[in-house]
């Protein structure tokens, strides 16, 4: 069964009576365990689509399902709970809470979920080790490099064992070597944990690593290919 499904998903931004069709009739299915990339030039609607799928924003028309939940009709509180329990987020900018340490950032969603101290400790230590940050648990974000910060963000996204990880250009601000390391890590986590990854990029090196490639242009899906 598809973990993500959309039906004529559209989003129109209205600003000073000017209408921008950011997304038009997107029909999409992402399978469980997929490692999919949303490609397309800047302004093609990648962020808009990820925001819809992540229950961060509502579409103008159309519907979307995530792990069986019809997200477009959920209340604000239910969307918040869906994000907490089913989705892991990695953003391009501003990912971490500056006042919390690497460990506390990764632990945060588990605290929101009310997971016990012991289980949190086990889970977070294991994840930080997996993303290669053992020994840096007590650093604050500003004491970490850009790549290390995104690793913390990955650990946080995976901490609650979400059905899907949504990442909006997670490597856009990193140098290519760090980028490759991060992609290796996400690929490995996808393989080891079976977590579904959907991330956006306009970088050919990233697009290369996709097993599933969806290309957007002007808010329309122009190609959708599998490469196993």
């Amino acid at each position: 069964m598809a973990i993500i499904r959309t039906e004529n998903l559209s989003r129109v931004y209205r600003e000073n009576s000017i209408e921008v069709k950011a997304l038009t009739d997107v029909n999409l299915q992402i399978q469980r365990g997929d490692f999919a990339v949303l490609a397309g030039p800047s302004g093609s609607g990648k962020t808009t689509l990820l925001n819809m799928l992540g229950a961060l924003d509502r579409p103008t028309s159309g519907r979307a399902w995530l792990d069986g939940h019809e997200i477009t009709s959920l209340s604000k509180m239910d969307r918040s709970r869906l994000r907490r329990d089913h989705i892991g987020f990695i953003f391009q900018f501003y990912n971490l809470i500056p006042v919390l340490t690497a460990y506390e950032n990764a632990e945060f969603v588990l605290l929101l979920q009310g997971v016990s101290h012991h289980d949190r400790e086990t889970k977070v230590s294991e994840l930080l080790k997996k993303v290669g940050l053992s020994g840096l648990e007590h650093r604050k974000p500003h004491e970490l490099s850009g790549g290390q910060q995104q690793r913390v963000a990955i650990a946080r996204a995976l901490a609650s064992s979400p059905s899907v990880v949504l990442a909006d250009e997670p490597t856009a601000n990193l140098d290519s070597q760090t980028e490759q390391g991060l992609l290796d890590l996400m690929e490995q986590l996808n393989r080891d944990l079976g977590t579904t990854f959907l991330f956006s990029s306009h970088d050919p090196e990233v697009i290369d690593r996709a097993r599933r490639l969806i290309v957007l242009r002007d808010g329309v899906v122009v190609s959708d290919t599998r490469r196993d």
């Binding site: 961060l56 006042v99 946080r156």
Partner: protein, 409 residues
Amino acid sequence: MIARLAARNLRRHFRRTLITTIGIALGTALSLFSIGLGDGGHLQMIENGVRIGQGHLTVQMDSYLESPSTAKFLPDPEPFLAVLENHPGVRSVFPRIRGEGMLATAYAAEGVQFQGIDPSRRGEADLFRDSIAEGDFLSASDGAHIFLGQKLAQRLKVKVGRKTVLTFQDSAGEITSTLLRVSGIFRSGSSAIDGTICLVPIGTLQRALGMGQGVTSLAIYLENPFAQEAVYRQLERSLPGGSAGLYHWQTLQPDLRDYVVLDDVFGYLIYAIILFILAIGVLNTVLMSVMERKREIGILTAIGMGGGAVLRMVLLETALITLIGIAGGLVLGLAVNWYFSVHGLDLTSFSTEGWDLAGTVIDPIMRSKLRPHRVFQLCTAVFLLSVTMGIYPAVKASRTEPVEAMEKP
């Protein structure tokens, strides 16, 4: 977890937190100081007022209140004294006669207010005893002596040891005169008091007025002036009934009461202004910190922190700043109050005379008096007001839309 986030957020903007905290602390301390000084000043005024007047509570004939006259006297004060002297809340009771008359010498005559007192009772008329300018206080309770104010003595051109004649209506309405020798002269600092009041032994007046053991009032001084109402209610029940009643100083000295009430209202106005400024400061700080953290709150919301939790986080931050500020204000305010309760605030340099007001004498050295319930009142007001100021920013923060908050820089 919310508490940890709140505490860290405050620590991150240490300087801003510190400035707000200091603001709250100073506001609290300033309010405590002015409450302490105001209450202390009022207490001094009231204490002096009732010392010159007829006590915290007074027994007198009910008809005396409408038109004071020595004809309206309490013929047998003994049963009253028996009750009053045995009440634990009563420090002392003084039988007195008050009346108006004419005091004359060979040179002049002046209208006076005479007070018959028992000089053998400890503590009686100590305000006058403590301000002797010349001569001695009255000694025997039935000697033919008079103790008068300096202004009055000057107008009458009378010296210690000289004779005066006091003329008044006796209890039967007849005009009577009695010869009194000046035993001493006092100077209280209030020209109204120094120019009109003279003290005469009560026995001498009782004989001259023909009222036997009668008195016009029993002035009651309490151990604790703040217990006035409680003692009043107890005495009310145990005192003999009849045509004599028990009165509050507030009824007998309405000028003093009105002055204190008015000054209290003025005081509240000042605290209101201090609290208003404080509230604006808190609102500004919390609002600024919330707007600055818009993206951060966006992330928290995006990863599933609910609006309620965000609201609680901001309110908790406000409460924390406030509590620290109040704690600092308490330390500072109590210290300052302690200093001024021991050393007093010396106002003598502001005025050299005329420390009389509303029928009382104002001490030129004000001592602050801070009662626990006033401290509690103020701290509660500061806390509630400050946290209320956090509500708007907290609600605003809790409604953050993650998408808007996290737009590109």
